[in-house]
Amino acid sequence: MNILLLPDLLIILLAASILAIDLYRGKPQSTVSFHMSWIGLLVIFCLLIILPYDQEITYWGTYKVTGISLLFKQVFVLSSLCTVLLSAPYFKPGGNARGVLRYRSEFYFIILLCTFGMFAVVSATGLLTLFIGMELATIPLYILSGYQKEDSLSVEAATKYIIMGSLSTGLLVFGYSFLYGCAGSLSFKAISVFAMASPTDPLFRLGVLFVLAAIGFKLTIFPFHMWAPDVYDGAPTPVTAFISVSSKAVAIGFLLILVYGPLAPLHNYLQIILLILAGATMTVGNLGALKQKRLRRFMAYSSIAQAGYIIMAMAGTAAAAYSSIIYYLFVYAAANYAIFFIISIVGRNGEEEFKSLQGMGKQNPVLAAVLMLTLFSLGGIPPLAGFMGKFLLFAAAAERGFYSMVIFAALNSTISLYYYLLLVKEAYIIKPAIAPRVLVIDNIQRISLVLLTSAMVSLGLIPLFSSNIMAIVQ
């Protein structure tokens, strides 16, 4: 037994103990589970930081912990931590205009185990672990998006999500069956050997395309993105945040593992497809975001566009793609959660729409400034972290000489700046038609926003972090 497996075990233990304690002290208003979750996640995160990153250990044949998987786990744990903190007011009466959420302990239990599923995905060494991990990382999201049972929007979102999701699972299983059939085994090593020997085999390629389509669904790649705006819009806000960061991160991890692992011999074939998908995705995301009025739907399109940028980097070399994408995931997570925290503040006693932001510049200039900073980071303006992230992604593609793609993406990001500025305009300039509601910010939100903002600024400026990722990846 080795210490490297400790975070994975701890997270299961944490989930189990939350459910157990809830059984004994099952008062609906008890906040024990909340405090346990965030403290536990914080401990696990600290543990993840101090673990050795230069080791590589395989447990029981199908579970491998490497430096890269630990980096991904950091993203997942951070994201879950933010979701837990973000969700706090949603369980309190009056904490949100859409109504109160019930079943707090179960919520955290599901979030934690979902996070464990993500751990499994990035630790997999074979298709079976990958498949089950991916399902464990997906099925809880269906539950969570339907968590607000009183709200018909939430139920509708969950229905759409699970039906689209089960179709994609069907495609995924088909893909696995062809990969298995060609390689004759479920292990990545065997698949890699087969891919090396006959990379043009049509059955193998069919399997790859099936898998690509299915993962495109989770990654919200055009044309598999259709569920995202509706689900983001309907699901409870903390769940939307979780889907937009964690679910995307795990899908990216999945794709990276396959593209640079067993499917590496097909990279020349895949990179063209990935680039076409990336270009289409960022365009569709940006176009869709141009005309939105609801914040969560807006974030859906924005994150579709971000997925496009991320995929673009997969045309690069393994080292460049891994380091730029992991770095970008941290940056993206920080910016997205900052926005969602602001949405949760606005949504405390109002609709989560553009017009609810009006008057924020006057009423709470600091919050408005944080919003502006976050949007600038998402828009990729230096010296914020978003710029560095985008620079690295673009550079990864440019390294392989895809200049026209890089120019296309850069123009796309100029469009995105336009609609991010729309939000800034809303917060600062447009005078609210009615007197703006009082913005109540509790301590959790304040501290989280301060931390996220400083992360956004410092990730872009302090070299330590990106150098570390680089070192681990290489």
Partner: protein, 651 residues
Amino acid sequence: MADLLFTHSYLILLFPLLSFVTISLRPVQLSPKMAGRFAIGCQGLSMLYGLAVAAAYWQTVIGQPQLYPARSLVCFDLAWLNFSPTLTANMGIFLDPISVMMIVVISIISFLVNIYSVGYMKDDPGFARFFALMALFSFSMLGLVISSNILQMFVFWELVGMSSYALIGFWYQKPSAVAASKKAFVVTRFADTFFLIGIIVVSFYTQSFDFQTLNSPETAALLDHTFMLGIVPINLLTLATILIFTGGWGKSAMFPLHIWLPDAMEGPTPVSSIIHSATMVVAGVFLTARMFPLFAASEVTLAVVQFVGAFTALFAAIIAITQKDIKRILAFSTLSQLGYMLFSLGVAKMVTGIHPGAEINPLGYSAAMYHVFTHAFFKCMLFLGAGAIIHAVHSNDIMDMGGLRRLMPKTYWSLLTACLAIGGIFPFSGFWSKDAILLAALQSGHYIVCAVGLATGGLTAFYIFRFFFLTFHGRARSKFHDVRENSWMTFSIMALTIPTVTAGMLEHLFVSEVTVPGLAYTPNFSHPLWLPTLASLAGIAGISLAWTFYGRGRTEAAERCRLRIAPVYQVIYNKFYIDEVYLFITHKIIFHGIAAPIKWLDRHIVDGAMNLIGEFLQQGGKAVRLLQNGQLQLYLGVTTLGFIALLFLGR
């Protein structure tokens, strides 16, 4: 001692940053008044330190050419971001003649403008916010000029853009200010996109961001190959340098990306004074100078720089003649002067090329830098003076003014020196720097450019004295209440007369010391006497014409003349309708609505294309929303069709 100064040269940046952080984050509660004082104090310390560094640089580097043959010094250079094992971006401080010159200019002007602002912004509710943003701007601008590598420069470049955005929209209650700030931001960001791509291209070929590496001949040789983009042969060196120059193109507001600058005058006047005349807009010129050896390796790029500069110089001067808004006159004047600087850079030669037999001639480089230096002071002063006038009479329109000479004597006399300087009258600073520029154009054999420069000089003298006479002379054309000079403001204005009058003495310093990096060549500065004479005559002619038209505050003669050429005047007055065109395009691209006249589409094919793109984007946005109609089975169908497409794509 000098070493110690250099080691801690980051302090120049740190003081403004400290001021920004202290005022904006408020760790201690400062009253607005104290915030202002604090900002001035920090700015003053930064200036003193900057001057000390400049003196030390003078003594150590310039004084010992045998130790520092390149005249440059890297104070420190810390590894900042690793991109790959071979490519690292550093964070450092790089001192060479132009960065030291810019430090001096920026820190002095920031300091004076801060003092001025205490008077100007006296009763504004955003008093403290203003000083915080100004400090942020100084920090980023200083960071831009001392950057040791292009990526660092780009970061500060965008920071400068951001603080400019915040300052133009400082009075965010005014819709026009907001529109202007957004325009400025989007236009410059658009240009910066190309800048960034240029950086990526160059850095991946050379595996370096460092200016010293980028400027070396090896880099130029490495980049100098032609590839086919479709059927068009493209030289990578030209492509990369033009991409990088595009950033400067937007930032320095050269035609046709100049549209944001006149509108940027919606910001408070001290902002226009420091950002949009003296420092930030010079960034494009500075970038060109910084990368000059690389730019100069491509003849095409230099020709583009030269053409864009000369065209804008003349174009903006013509528009300035007709403007009535005091700040817009100065804005167009700024454009015109920036054009001067750029074409001056464009005529400098590193390789013998266009004219066989012409020798290497870096005079244009020195002249441009010299003009950056002199222009900063007198243009800053002109803006501060304009601000003082606006503050006193509460109007921007020169037609409402007149007769202010007696009411504002200190401003009057100070502005006179600035007007004489920009008009190129001996012995004020503008005379010397323009003379050097014209000489550079003449020496390198660009006679047309030289003639354009001369003509622009005459026009400049005309429009600036038109402004001067209409404001100060004659009778008051409207009633003023309570016109007084504020001592905070007059102090800064009067302080700026010193460099305006005396900077002419530095000509030989600039010509001999501020030369192209890495080129051991002293420019030939022998004058034909007729050139300065001709330039002076053009200036005097301009002034006399202005006097005939507008002297003693008359406007009738000009009115008569205006009627005679009415149609032409209308076109010029409306800035050749450029703004309308842009308004049209941006409305189509960005704001929907406004069914624009189809006529324009035919007449301006390029704009039509732009328009089409905008329409396309909007329609695309609509289409995406239309597809997202809530019907689950449509989504499933699209997904399936997408998968089928993928199947055929992947075959």
